[in-house]
Each structure stands twice: as C-alpha cells, then as structure tokens.
C-alpha cells in the first residue's frame, strides 16, 4: 500500500510526515492519521528522524524550551530522549539520545533563527487539517489562571473604582468644611440663646 507524505517548510527547515489515512474512519486518500515515519531536515545539520512517539516528545521539548527562553535567563530542558540547553543568548545546544545503548548521542548546535524555523514547522503541522496528530499540550497553551486576569482586573476596577472615588471626594469635600466651622463661636451663640 502506498504511503502518503506531507512536507512543511520554513526557510532552512523542512518537516516530512509519512503515513496512512485511517480508512476505518472513512478518511480521504490524502489524509494522514497513522504516522509511520517523520524526518526533520535542517540545512547544514544531520537529518533527524524517528517514530510517532519520538515526534510528540521532541515537539513538546521545543515548545517548552522556546517558552523558557522568553521567561528564563538560563533555559534548560532535559528528558530521556532530548536535552536542549542554551550556550549563550544566541546559540542552543541540542542533544538527541538514542534508546540503543551502543549509539552515541547526536549533538547539534543551532542559532535563534533555526530554532524559530523549527518551531514554525511544528506549528504548521499542528495547524494542518491533513494530518491528524495528538496536539502538543504546549501548542498555544494558555493555562486557565492566565486567561482571565486582565478580564477580572477590568471588571474589578469597573465595579469598585466609581464608589471608591465618590467616597474619597466626599471625605475631601467635607474635610474642607472644617475650616469654616468655629466651635468657640458656636458655643457663644448657644449661651446667648439660653440667656434669652
């Protein structure tokens, strides 16, 4: 049976997905749901290939690492399959470990430009309608606690700010009236009224 092949390109990086459609689900001929192989080709670097389990782990590693670069000073990602570490602000060190004990780990150095190309290839794969793949947990991930703070903040301020300002202005206005109030004069007036 002929296998389908789909490629995703971004400048110097291309990702090839090879597999079959799930005919039991009445899928089209061009669809890929059962991935048998994948190849990540980075110009000037060794070819990276593997099975579907590896693809998921590698995609997760790149997504987590890319968010760590933005938030951390020294980003580091370690797993059984892949380690990614920053050499400096511009260069990243990728160590791909084989499950076979006799195979040495593959070390690849990439810059920020290649890193963004790789992530963009993975994004294209995640967004593709032709490949059915379990989406990475970290693709466009937005934790629930992060989604709502701005919304809540706006609602909170809209609710509490007007009464707070009105109370403050009332206190300020009434405090100015203290200057016009003379307690001694008031006492004298009361005494005069009593004498009468």
């Amino acid at each position: 049976m002929l296998q389908n092949s789909l490629s995703f390109h971004q400048s110097s990086v291309s990702l090839e997905i090879i597999g079959l459609p799930d005919y039991s689900n009445n899928e089209n001929k061009g669809q890929i749901s059962i991935i048998s192989d994948w190849k990540l080709n980075i110009i000037g670097k060794p070819l990276i290939e593997g099975k579907i389990d590896h693809l998921g782990q590698i995609m997760d590693a790149f997504y987590i690492y890319s968010s760590l670069i933005i938030t951390n000073e020294k980003p580091l990602y370690e797993s059984k399959l892949i380690d990614i570490k920053a050499d400096n602000l511009y260069i990243h060190n990728i160590v791909l470990k084989s499950s076979k004990p006799e195979v040495r780990p593959l070390i690849i150095k990439i810059g920020n430009s290649l890193l963004s190309d790789i992530i963009n290839c993975f994004d294209q794969l995640n967004e593709s309608s032709k490949v059915r793949i379990k989406k990475s947990r970290f693709f466009n991930s937005m934790p629930k606690k992060v989604i709502f703070p701005l919304n809540n903040k706006v609602k909170f301020f809209n609710f509490f700010l007007p009464p707070f300002i009105s109370i403050c202005s009332l206190v300020l206005f009434s405090s100015t009236l203290i200057y016009f109030f003379n307690p001694i004069e008031n006492k004298e007036k009361k005494e005069l009224i009593n004498k009468k």
């Binding site: 670069i69 938030t71 602000l89 920020n112 430009s113 890193l115 992530i119 963009n120 937005m142 706006v154």
Partner: protein
C-alpha cells in the same frame, strides 16, 4: 479597530511614551493589538530572521544589526520618555542586546495562524 486613529490613540497607553495618556484599555482592544503585532511579525519574518542570524556568528560583520540598533535608538529617543529608568535601560547598548534578541525571538515564534494566542501567552508569562 474602526480606523487608524484608534490604533494611534491606543499606542499612547504605553507608559514609556512621551505622550502617555492613561486610558482603560479594553480586553477587545488588547487582543486586537496582539493580532496586529502577530500579523506584522508574519510580514517581517525574513527581516527578523536575518537580524537574529547576524548575531549568531561573532565573526560576521553585522551591518544589518548595527543599522537596526541605530534606528531603534533614534526611535526611542524621539518617542519615549528618556528620563525613565526603563527607557534608559533600553538605550544602554550593553544591556539592551538581551531585550532586543528576546523580543525579536518572541515575534519570530508567533508567525503561525494561531500565533497571536502564543504571543498573548508569552506576554502574560513575562
């Protein structure tokens, strides 16, 4: 965004700008600005990539990087409040490399169709 003037007004919500006006920015406006930024980074991706590449090789004579930094500093001097400490940090050549690289990398990672969601996520986590 009904027109360009609305975008121009929204820019003034940036506290680092000289013409800073504190308006309550709405969630829809905030999301619209993020979408515009993601679309612009998609359009400018080749230039952003070239800028990132220029810093990767120390032997490389980075004319493009120097030109970008010069324009960046000119723009900050012209539009931003240079008395602010945060703006001073942006103008300091030894300190601003990291800020610029991280900003460019963030933009380059958000060029997919759903890139604005990623940009929003990065902004909340920063």
């Amino acid at each position: 965004m009904p027109n360009k003037i609305t975008i121009w007004k929204l820019r003034n919500n940036n506290p680092l700008r000289k013409s800073y006006i504190k308006n309550n920015i709405q969630l829809e406006e905030f999301e619209a600005l993020i979408k515009i930024t993601a679309e612009m980074s998609k359009y400018l991706y080749p230039y952003i990539k070239e800028l990132l590449q220029s810093k990767e090789d120390p032997k490389n004579n980075s004319v493009i990087w120097d030109d970008f930094q010069k324009r960046f500093r000119e723009l900050i001097n012209e539009r931003f409040n240079v008395n602010s400490m945060r703006v001073k940090k942006l103008l300091n050549q030894t300190e601003n490399d990291e800020i610029i690289i991280k900003s460019l990398l963030t933009l380059s990672l958000c060029i997919s169709n759903g890139g604005y969601k990623k940009l929003k996520n990065f902004l909340f986590n920063c």
